[in-house]
């Protein structure tokens, strides 16, 4: 996979610091899982985090802190509050079924969508555009969907508030910024207005996360948005 469009330092930095909302974080992880370049840059940012930690002014721990922790060391692994409960990974119904691991679907995403893109329960959104709202993430946290854009169809022109991340899983699209193929990520600032169009004879499937619902600029798209809940 040859990747031409990468994550911005700003987005990677926020990911590294743990400051991203769930939906955006999942798309970042999906891109990183296929992109050695961004993974390397992520490592550099984590190094900076580690250095800052190393050089931060220490704060006194309570006098018995070490003793309290030492007592816990010998014991069998107790579940930490931070350990994810078993059912937290996914609300996807077939989670227990063996998954073949379709390489079209980045690993972090696999718990949230069917194993085959053909099996996705697409809903119609506008002529030539279908969507699938991904469940299992914090509802208040932005939006996360798969989009399927038929050849030649385009997403209505829109603005967004905050980050919008779009990763191509299949096919390709073009917009005012450039051409995006499989593995590419469009990491857009909130001041960009764009109109992606599927630019081959194959439908383009992408994973898209926004911090806030998209703001479509035309009237029809706004109605569509209202009824589709996207």
């Amino acid at each position: 996979m040859s990747i031409h469009h990468h994550l911005s330092d700003a987005t990677l930095g926020a990911f590294t610091a743990g400051a991203l909302i769930e939906s955006i974080s999942l798309v970042v992880a999906s891109h990183i899982s296929n992109c050695p370049d961004c993974r390397k840059r992520r490592d550099q940012l984590e190094d900076i985090g580690g250095i800052q930690l190393q050089h931060t002014e220490p704060e006194d721990m309570s006098p018995d802190a070490l003793q309290k922790v030492m007592i816990k060391l010998g014991k069998q692994k107790l579940p930490l509050a931070s350990d994810p409960p078993n059912d937290s990974i996914s609300s996807f119904p077939n989670e227990s079924a063996p998954r073949r691991g379709n390489p079209e679907i980045p690993k972090p995403l696999r718990a949230y969508v069917p194993d085959r893109l053909e099996d996705v329960d697409w809903k119609s959104m506008a002529p030539g555009i279908k969507y699938f709202a991904i469940a299992g993430l914090n509802k208040a946290d932005g939006t996360l969907s798969l989009l399927k854009i038929s050849p030649g169809a385009n997403i209505p022109e829109h603005r967004h508030q905050g980050i919008e991340l779009t990763q191509v899983l299949k096919g390709s699209f073009s917009d005012e910024i450039g051409r995006f193929g499989v593995g590419d990520i469009a990491d857009l600032d909130d001041d960009i207005e764009h109109q992606p169009i599927a630019d081959t004879n194959e439908a383009c499937i992408c994973l898209i996360a926004t911090e806030a619902p998209l703001k479509f600029t035309g009237l029809m798209p706004r109605l569509v948005q209202y009824f589709s809940g996207m």
Partner: protein, 199 residues
Amino acid sequence: MNKQAQISLGSGDKEQPNFSLLLLSIGQTQDKAAFADLFQHFAPRVKSYMLKLGSADEMAEELAQQTLLQVWRKAQLFDPDKAAASTWIFRIARNIRIDVLRKKKHFFDDDFDLAEIKDEQENAEVKINREQKIRHVALALAELPQNQAKVIRMSFYDGLSHGEIAKQLELPLGTVKSRIRLAFGRLRESVYLESGEMA
């Protein structure tokens, strides 16, 4: 402290324990003395990190203890070729904070087995000592102009968005963005070119 776990940080630097060796020792032999050394150094710093990010004292203390406990439990997974000790502990502290405090899911690498994905760049010749590299980064960070160092810290450590940083520092957003870009460019140049890695 174990004498073998002391390394020199070069001229002018005070001696510091080699945290990677301590972690390895914990992972391989459940070395409690090594753990105590690591705890004394990192727990107060993790607490400081938690306090800076808004935790109350009691919670910061609790999160610091949980972080070090997790360090003990995961020490077997520590690989000094992949991460410096401070980077590795930073990751655990950050994850604990998100899991416990914000009860949010994040999608960090350690949640997935990425072993099957090979880094083309990662071959034997660029396999350099992470701890050494960290020292290069630390030096480069220390040499950044104050105003750049500050936005780097707020962005990559405190996890503030560029908008939040602009607000706090009462600067235009564009200024914040360009400082981060400049600073990060400098870090890349001085550190990663020097060590033969991609810029």
